[in-house]
């Protein structure tokens, strides 16, 4: 593929000059390096000139800088929607980082991050949620933690020393 391209480049200039074209790379490999995957395994990349329609099941970290229409599943891995990414899909992954645009629901079993410039139109379910100042979300954000059970009818005996089971609040805890 690359040789063919080289050959094309070696051809003499045509008599009528072509309009100036933006040279869009098929792969965004150099940009991907900046994502710094935390796992030693590789990162699958959907470049910004790629459009995929259908279901994507990833067994490794995935970077989407192109367009996807369908579903993305990477249950134990990280999915990054790059700044050029335009995704109309539901996404399920361990860790989801959004820098581009998503229309669809997002479920991160560990964490969902919405970075500056990102736009999400859909609901988020996750354990840890981070949204930068210039990130936009139009949808609900709910916890993936299991529903709290209703209080038992009979209250447990309170220990004279320790108070009844309560959530420990740290100084930075907003509940305080």
């Amino acid at each position: 593929m690359w040789k063919r391209r080289d050959r094309e480049e070696e051809q003499p200039a045509r008599s009528t000059p072509d309009p100036v074209k933006e040279n869009t790379p098929l792969s965004t490999t150099p940009a991907v390096r900046s994502y710094e995957p935390d796992s030693p395994r590789g990162v699958a990349t959907i470049g910004k000139a790629v459009y995929i329609k259908g279901q994507i099941i990833a067994r490794e970290d995935l970077v989407v800088d192109g367009s996807v229409d369908g579903t993305i599943e990477a249950q134990e891995h990280r999915v990054t929607i790059g700044p050029n990414g335009k995704v109309a899909a539901t996404i399920k992954a361990r860790h989801i980082i959004i820098q581009g645009q998503i229309t669809g629901n997002v479920e991160g079993t560990e964490k969902v991050e919405i970075r500056n410039g990102a736009k999400l139109l859909g609901d988020v379910k996750t354990v840890k949620f981070v949204c930068e100042e210039e990130g936009t979300i139009n949808g609900s954000v709910s916890s993936l933690r299991p529903e709290s059970k209703p209080a038992p009818a009979v209250e447990p005996k309170a220990s004279p020393v320790t108070p009844p089971a309560q959530q420990t609040l740290t100084p930075n805890d907003p509940k305080k």
Partner: protein, 228 residues
Amino acid sequence: MSAVLDKLRNLFQPDDDPPHLPSYRPPPLQPTAPIELTRPSNGLDQFFLALDGQDRLKILDLCGAPATTEFLFQLDHVPRPDPFYRALELAFGNGPGYLDRQLEPDRVEIFVEHTLGHKEGEFDAVLLWDSLQYLRPELLEPVLEQIFDITRPGAPLLAVFHADERIEEVPVFSYHVQGRNTLFLSEKDRRRPAQHFNNRMIEKIFKNFASTKFFLARDHLREVLIRR
């Protein structure tokens, strides 16, 4: 020759007039720096008091500041940020004519349907912030009817109005909740309010709701806790 020398000398003689002082030029008008301030909020405190003992409450936030979304999420609620202000700009513009365009029934209908088109009784609480003061009565009424419909009975709503009636333009703030009674305000824009809201008018516009409670803050902001 001497005449020429006199002319040249005169050229370098100081004038009899006092030395010419450079005229005072006022510095060019600089746009005032956007306001950013952190302040306590009794209204917000009462709002969270009304939510105490409950979790997984669905809270509509018409400002949708990320800090507020994160804070409510950490409290184990379900925040629903809504780009209300952005939708207002898209529907009616943000120039001086934005209030006139609110008189067009078609625009009003589309705006209400698309911006607040949630299910009946879907929300357990609503953070209105200062959104209502940019709505003319023609838009305010259907918006409040819609908010009434999408909230459950007893739900607390927090609204903010600028209390200074003389001011022509008021800052449009982004409201970032930083604590149960702490707000960080950052100015995004300045706008002419649609009307000035005094306590009596606020009670009137929320006449279908169960109750209103007022908190006057230091910075000319009137906080109102409303019960659906």
